[in-house]
Symmetry: C2
Subunit: 399 residues, 2 copies
């Protein structure tokens, strides 16, 4: 099945994040690189679909389950199947709305368990991961090949199974002349550093800390709203300097990754308490949460990315930082980042300069990875995941 002649294909990338709010579908045209170069990815259109309330509750129940919580095998088998049906429906609906037909579906699935650090099980240390959404159902309903289950191969090769998006970053945004840094502002903020003219081995990627995870939580506590649309509330407030920035996560050198363990409700409790002595209004608290993201991204850039750029792209000054993810729509956050990073010679933009809509980037990344797998090509970036080698990701289901 390998070494198939590379050809341009319309690939539907399908992503569900750990926030478990729904499904992002990005229809992309993925084409072979010219003269052995990196493949090209063009987002042709994208759509987002919310999970039904029932399904979201079930996903959160299963995905939120820790060691102590309990489920039945039947329930998990059924959720895997139902998610497959939902993904198939979402791809069909998006394709209809966009007037496009996918030749290949690349489905990340819904993560219900991810254990990046080794733990003992039956006397053997292992790491593992688990994404749900039965690919055979998608292949049968849509009658197209499906690539699914992208993370296990990287983990089997010694990696953490994440981050995987740096492959898209490297293929689409690497420049021979400019330093480029990709910033994704999802629940967590992460950076991918692409030194000018350097190869894929020089890619650095890590999580800088919280983004929407804390901003959204603060919005819920102060205003009972799920998020700050456009950053309107934060723009009316004034940030209290330094709040939330003393955690030890920010001191750690990359590679590093974080999540609800570090920046969940316990962190938010403390964060809100810390704003009070400064006499912060509710708007000020939201602005402070935005400020926390701005400052943690900027200081990570200065401490970890700058030395890396100097090492791999000596003499190239400054960098372009291209933002994607829901946070790219938050004007307070974008304005804060642009102002704060100016002193470092960083010019802020979004991934749309390269034709990747900010909401579609993760789904587009899986479209690219699916295309690579279909052609028998590796999809992970070992310097980002820690894998021993570049490996073909995922499993292929034929219709």
């Amino acid at each position: 099945m390998t070494n198939k002649k590379q050809r341009a294909m319309v690939v539907a990338g399908v992503m569900s994040g750990t926030s478990a709010d729904g499904v992002d579908v990005a229809f992309c045209r993925v084409s072979p690189g010219v003269g052995g170069g990196s493949p090209k990815v063009k987002v042709l259109g994208h759509r987002a679909f919310a999970y039904s309330k029932k399904l979201r509750a079930e996903v959160l129940k299963v995905a939120g389950a820790r060691e102590a919580e309990v489920l039945s095998a039947a329930e998990m088998a059924r959720l895997n199947w139902r998610l497959g049906e939902v993904y198939a429906e979402c791809v069909a609906k998006a394709g209809e709305a966009l007037g496009l037909k996918a030749e290949l579906v690349a489905c990340h699935g819904q993560t219900v368990y991810h254990q990046g650090a080794a733990a003992k099980f039956l006397g053997e240390a292992l790491r593992c991961t688990w994404q749900m959404g039965e690919a055979a159902v998608i292949a049968e309903r849509l009658r197209v090949p499906v690539v699914s289950d992208f993370r296990p191969a990287d983990m089997a090769a010694g990696g953490q199974g994440a981050p995987l998006v740096p492959m898209l970053d490297s293929c689409v945004f690497r420049s021979s002349k400019k330093n480029r840094v990709l910033l994704n502002l999802g629940g967590i903020a992460n950076l991918t550093v692409l030194p000018a003219g350097a190869g894929v081995d020089a890619v650095m990627a890590f999580d800088t800390g919280p983004a929407n995870m804390v901003i959204d939580a603060v919005m819920m506590r102060c205003f009972g709203k799920a998020f700050d649309r456009g950053g309107a509330v934060a723009l009316r407030g004034k940030a209290v300097a330094g709040v939330g920035l003393r955690g030890k996560y920010f001191e750690l050198a990359p590679p590093k990754s974080c999540g609800r363990e570090e920046f969940g409700s316990a962190f938010v409790d403390e964060f809100v308490d810390e704003c009070e002595p400064a006499g912060a209004s509710k708007e000020d608290v939201v602005a402070t949460a935005v400020g926390l993201t701005v400052e943690s991204v900027a200081s990570a850039y200065e401490r970890f990315c700058l030395p890396h750029l100097l090492k791999f792209a000596e003499g190239v000054k400054g960098a372009e930082m291209l933002v994607a993810g829901g946070g790219a729509k938050n004007r307070a956050l974008m304005r804060g980042l642009a102002e704060r990073l100016k002193r470092d010679g960083v010019k802020l933009g979004t991934t749309e300069v390269s034709g990747i809509a900010v909401e579609a980037k993760e789904a587009a990344a899986f479209a690219l990875m699916g295309w690579l797998t279909w052609h028998g090509m590796a999809g992970n970036v070992p310097s980002a995941t820690g894998a021993r080698r570049a490996v073909v990701l995922g499993k292929v289901s034929l219709p």
Copy 2:
């Protein structure tokens, strides 16, 4: 990835049954059929490996879990991973022992949940199945492509996801001149009927009732032993006629399948009780369990297979019945079947006449199905599973 030129390959088929006792590995040479005919399968060698006690207990815990029982997502993700490691080790060990190197691994995995009948979940009716054993781990450890997860595609196409072995039966044993019936004597006995000269659409397959499930259980109760090696105990006893044969399962017309629900410990309790009034010795009880299998197979043959053979192979007299599975090693059972079926013009033999070792047949069936998938060819037999169409089975992981 489809329509690849067919070529002969050494494929390692890997099977773990619902008894959860371990892993069967069959190294097979699978070659394209001559002139568009069915592919050929030759078992080059095979090995069986027992699960460790710890692993078996864990598998039984997960696989035995019903709706009411409970598990954590972490535990299941870890078991899936650990089983992948175990399968990789078993294939490596078998290959070393046999002096063979697999070009492709076809791994059935360990079934932990199978729901052939539709049930409501989040308001939608669905059927589903779940086999564990992470294929990415096998591909990485052995550095060969792996086909896994064979059952979901058939179910997504409306089938029951079982039985899948009829594809091997049809490819290897179909004859233009003779009626052939394949009998597998595992925990459950099942028949595949191949009318002389008929195509794959004329294949009939179903479970006739219990085989080793009841014989082994009776051995455990009467002698505290796991099974009756070679049928030695049964050969010393005398069967009580008719015991256990009045269950309604035997009356049902195919397609039908059965398991522990019908022939588990409740059935065995009643079975043993029924032997007592006849003054049966312990050896007689074991012989009666053998007699139950003999009679249920033979009467299923007469009621369901004979009319089917007459319909699809009019004028062809008698049939050859080829036995595989652990029960083929039980001389009492084989002798009983040979004597009982003689009156129907059935000649008893084993699959070894066609080069398929009786212990290796199921693993060899998955080797064939993996080879078919690798070449983009369908692997299910719709008349056996009830699927709407023939589909490519499984998922391909590339090393």
